[in-house]
């Protein structure tokens, strides 16, 4: 009887020790643990961002990044933040934009810092949330910058003399894509619903939840339009190619999904994406002729915002609110201009390397330091 009791006690002890050991092993060894919300897990841009954080930032700072799977909706984003909070993440970086208001509210509820690394809040939403304690800020192209990026693309093809285009609206009504799409139409010299004013165009696109080809008027004809990605996308892109447009203009993700098809069809195409190896191949050997892009380490300043906040020096603007820094796009129209940016931002020596980031991380860093650096890159 005594032996059985001892055995039982020993087994209980071993089980408890095992559980404690397992807990200790799963706990983060790093000082800082950041959860990253991602909507796109497959695209080269997303993988470039991830590689920069995991292979460069995590190597150079005492930080661990944990990622979500591909988030499809607001409920998934909220659940992911709750899970990260329960896993001990001190901060969230968002690359997913289904419902950023709920993201900020959830982070505020759980007391974890939050920053936006892709796109920015629209003006009204930013006004609402800029004073939140746990909103550390946003770094990315502002909506006006997105519009200008699309407009520059449209103007480029207009100058090339194209008279018909097909267009990919990516994930409209995502605001970033709405602004870019409106910019493309304006850049082509066309109107949408009878106007080329940015705010009037985007108002209509938000209402339509897509680009309605019947509402595009002007010298350059919109022969086909598609958006989103799903079961019918291949049929839609094939339909667009069959209409033989002179160019295919995309406001995002076309290089991820359609490069092979457009190369095969011999249709010159443009995209707003990032400087990745595959896009380099597409611009040098394929039909990609215009790329407005970000580089992988462009999300470095967002990490700096988070690290400062967690370390007790949250960066705030002159009015004590969360900062919003605008980043522009770099444009490549051939292999040479592509290499200029791509080579400068390689894995071991990114544009936002440790030395550069260290200049905006620390107890003495100010809003002005941040602004000066981000706007210089």
């Amino acid at each position: 009887m005594k032996t059985r009791k001892m055995t039982k006690t020993m087994l209980t002890g071993i089980a408890l020790a095992g559980a404690l050991a397992a807990t200790a092993m799963t706990a983060s060894a790093a000082d800082l643990k950041i959860g990253v919300l991602v909507a796109d897990v497959s695209g080269e841009e997303a993988q470039g961002f991830r590689s920069y954080y995991e292979n460069y930032i995590a190597e150079n700072y005492d930080v661990e990044f944990v990622y979500t799977d591909a988030l499809e909706d607001a409920a998934g984003e909220k659940a992911a933040i709750e899970k990260f909070a329960s896993q001990g993440c001190q901060a969230i970086i968002s690359l997913s934009s289904s419902d950023r208001a709920t993201q900020i509210d959830t982070c505020d509820e759980y007391g974890v810092y939050y920053a936006i690394a892709s796109g920015v809040l629209d003006d009204e939403l930013f006004e609402t949330y800029k004073g939140y304690e746990y909103f550390a800020g946003q770094v990315g192209p502002g909506n006006a910058t997105e519009f200008e990026a699309g407009k520059a693309m449209g103007e480029y093809f207009k100058a090339q003399g194209v008279t018909s285009v097909a267009m990919y609206g990516a994930f409209i009504p995502n605001p970033m894509h709405v602004f870019r799409a409106a910019g493309v139409i304006a850049g082509l010299g066309d109107t949408y619903g009878g106007t080329n004013d940015m705010y009037e165009m985007i108002g209509q696109i938000f209402a339509d939840q897509k680009i309605d080809p019947a509402k595009v008027e002007g010298d350059v004809a919109l022969t086909a339009y598609l958006q989103g990605y799903g079961d019918t996308t291949t049929d839609e892109i094939n339909a667009a190619i069959q209409k033989e447009p002179e160019a295919f203009l995309s406001v995002g993700m076309a290089t991820t999904f359609f490069t092979q098809m457009l190369n095969e069809a011999g249709i010159p195409f443009a995209d707003i994406d990032s400087f990745t190896q595959a896009n380099g191949t597409a611009i040098k050997e394929g039909q990609l002729v215009y790329l407005a892009g970000k580089y992988s380490s462009s999300i470095g300043p967002v990490f700096a915002l988070i690290k400062n906040a967690v370390d007790g020096n949250p960066i705030r603007d002159e009015e004590g609110n969360a900062p919003s820094f605008s980043q522009g796009y770099l444009v490549a129209t051939d292999g040479e201009s592509f290499d200029e940016y791509y080579v400068a931002d390689n894995g071991d020596a990114p544009i936002y390397d440790k030395e550069t980031l260290d200049s905006i991380i620390g107890a003495d860093v100010t809003y002005e330091d941040f602004k000066a650096l981000v706007e210089s890159k």
Partner: protein
Amino acid sequence: MSTAKKVTGTLAIPLLTALVLECICVMNGNHVITNLKSFNNFVVYTAIVMITTMALSINLNSGRFDFSLGSIAALSAVTGAKISYAMLHGASGSAPVMLLITVLAGALLGLVSGLIYVALRLPPIITSLGVTLIFEGVLYTFTGGKYVMAEVQNASMSGFVGTWVNAAILIVVILLAMILIFDHTTFGYNYNALKNGQKVAVNTGIREVPNAVLCYVICGALMGVVGFLNAARNTNINGGQLNFGSISIMFTAFLPMFIGTYISRFSSDKLGFLLAAVCMSLLNSTFAVFSNAITASVQSIINAVLLVVFLIYLNNEQLLVGTFMNRGQKVKA
């Protein structure tokens, strides 16, 4: 039945479909097939629909509802893509190598599915739901939920579907193989006997279990071909199809299966599936012509309405024929 009636009955639906759709296009200043690119798409899509329909019908005709077809197509395609890419790194010859591996992987997955069915002896609809979840889970684990892209984006793959010839060869080879296997072999005779009267067939000594397993293997191999064609056509494979995300592929085959079964009254069911696939592909090509006006969601509604209308017709065929004949006799009188 006279030969003339057989020919007329066999070709009536596809010819009528082509005529109606071409008229709609011409009225809008277009054609169903506008150029070589659209013809390539037409033939490739015909191949995909025909093969999927055949795979669906093999088990469904025997009372075995199989939800796992889509997951087999996706998982076998990913397997084929990964292995062929590891061997050739996307170089010349990648497409035929991937096709071969994908078909073998599909057959193996079909074998697994069939063995689970015969081992568990549960209703096939239950078993296939479980198998679908397992295969989708393996697919997700295998790919990390990401799209498989680099492995299928190469000149060999795009070249394979860049011309109608390869798809046409696949159509002919698979059609002949299916006719040979199901109409001219002992396995096929047994399959047809089991399909038409399971109890009687089993009592005459036909072994149902090996026949059912072989059906699953053939379905798996066919879905391997579909997985390959979809990968080449889409230039990616969705590795994140969880929670029955893969079963939609099966629903694309319902309407052609019913149309094909109807046509089979006048000829072979396999030929019926081909002609039904041609009808669906004509419809798909027409949607492409009107892509700016008819959105993807509207296309889905049109497909669903056509399915419902055709099922209503099939279920009330005698009633409709009787009504029209009576009206004709009244007019004559």
